[in-house]
């Protein structure tokens, strides 16, 4: 299929494994899926310590279920990426371990305190879900199918995150203070989740033309702000004066003042050159290395022929 045919036919769930897609499409889709899959994995590593640090058994169960979900989402997306025939799952996982694999800005930061958990579990997951819901309409069917399952599960994650925030916001004055401090620290990063405004986004036009994505970062950021700023206020959080966000006369959020955000930091992160992010990458690479023997033993069992091994992991 040539690129003009792809553009003419582009629509929700239009292309799949049986279609002969041009290289440009396969590479663009691989870039999106690999970024998305990497982000699921790195997000899971960020939250994993809170299985241990949970203040109650209920939270511990929920966090372990959530981390398991996210790893499964990563695997699901690597398979959807692999189907494009550009890179294998192993290549993508190796790139991530080497620091060549790219992933979401928010997962390059450390998260150490319980009061920070809603920043990821509510705001970042909520922002991710905004984007993911639109990707159900992606033209690459394996991507859209992965989104069906991921969005089904994500509702739990976001509500669980809000539940933690509610608990902290209605808790002791110390808890309220810690929540506000976490919010002050994470808010600019959350605003950068959808990247810079579209005129500076290099990949959007092509991805939109071939139906890989259906909405611009500006539209998504705007929808996110309209839903999540009122939520933050509801729980008594003060929105920091900077970065400034502007509303139109109807009170709809329409613009983040970009000059107020640290784009040097953002682009250092985008290149995997931010020190905290490198720690996250190395931490995961070390954990992966530490369990290499599990993978090796599975591969050895594989060599024993069909039925010799149990399949690894779950979605």
């Amino acid at each position: 299929m040539d690129i003009e045919t792809v553009k003419a036919r582009a629509g929700p769930r239009e292309f799949g494994r049986a279609d002969d897609m041009p290289e440009e499409y396969r590479e663009a889709a691989t870039r999106m899926l690999q970024f998305h899959a990497n982000s699921e994995i790195m997000g899971a590593y960020l939250e994993k310590p809170f299985i241990r640090q949970s203040p109650s058994v209920d939270r511990k169960l929920a966090f372990s279920a959530k981390v398991q979900d996210e790893i499964g989402h990563g695997q699901l997306l690597y398979r959807a990426a692999e189907a494009l025939g550009v890179k294998t799952r192993e290549e993508m996982l190796d790139e991530l371990a080497r620091g060549d694999g790219k992933f979401l800005n928010c997962f390059h930061y450390e998260m150490t305190d319980w009061a920070e958990t809603p920043m990821i579990a509510f705001f970042v997951d909520g922002a991710a879900m905004k984007r993911q819901a639109t990707l159900k309409q992606s033209s690459w069917t394996p991507y859209a199918h992965a989104m069906d399952k991921i969005c089904f599960e994500e509702g739990f994650h976001v509500k669980h995150g809000e539940d933690i925030m509610r608990e902290l916001a209605t808790g002791s004055r110390k808890e309220q203070r810690l929540l506000q401090e976490a919010f002050d620290e994470w808010w600019p990063r959350i605003l950068q989740f959808f990247g810079p405004t579209d005129d500076r986004s290099t990949h959007h036009d092509f991805a939109a033309d071939v139906g890989l994505k259906t909405m611009t970062n500006d539209e998504l950021r705007n929808q996110f702000l309209n839903a999540y700023v009122p939520k933050a206020r509801k729980y008594g959080l003060e929105i920091p004066d900077e970065p400034r966000i502007r509303t139109d006369e109807d009170g709809e959020y329409y613009e983040v003042v970009e000059a107020d955000l640290d784009w040097d930091e953002f682009f250092a992160i985008a290149k995997n050159e931010y020190p905290e992010g490198l720690d996250q990458i190395d931490g995961r690479a070390t954990a992966r290395e530490a369990v290499a023997w599990v993978r090796d033993s599975l591969t050895e069992a594989d060599a024993g022929g069909p039925g010799a091994t149990a399949s690894a992991g779950g979605d």
């Binding site: 929700p12 769930r13 239009e14 799949g16 049986a18 209920d58 169960l61 929920a62 279920a65 909520g126 879900m129 905004k130 993911q132 819901a133 069917t141 859209a144 199918h145 969005c151 089904f152 599960e153 994500e154 509702g155 739990f156 976001v158 509500k159 669980h160 809000e162 539940d163 509610r166 839903a227 999540y228 009122p230 939520k231 039925g307």
Partner: protein
């Protein structure tokens, strides 16, 4: 030789198991699958798989999820309002449907 047939009704849908065919080889199997399973209902694509290549595991062999109470895994377990974001509300609704049908199918 028996082959399992999965039918996709329209582009972008999932391939769903719709039946099987007898055929001596792959080529005949795809032909019979078309005739038996792709003739009446609109069909975009068929997957045809040798039955013996399908591995089954059932509820006698293992304990699947969904039968034990794991309320903490469900959006419905958290008493916060999901209606502020359509996609969160949609997810909660899908989960509520599955929760309600638990044990029915």
């Amino acid at each position: 030789m028996r082959w399992e047939v999965f039918r996709q009704a329209k582009r972008g849908d999932y391939h769903k198991h719709c039946g099987d065919v007898h055929a001596p080889d792959r080529e005949m199997a795809t032909l019979f699958a078309q005739i038996q399973h792709g003739r009446r209902m609109t069909t975009e694509s068929l997957w045809v798989v040798p039955s013996e290549e399908v591995t089954e595991i059932d509820a006698d062999d293992t304990a699947f999820g969904g039968r034990t109470d794991k309320a903490y895994r469900w959006a419905t377990a958290y008493n916060v309002d999901a209606s502020f974001a359509q996609e969160v509300a949609d997810s909660e609704e899908e989960q509520a449907e599955v929760e309600q049908s638990r044990g029915d199918d």
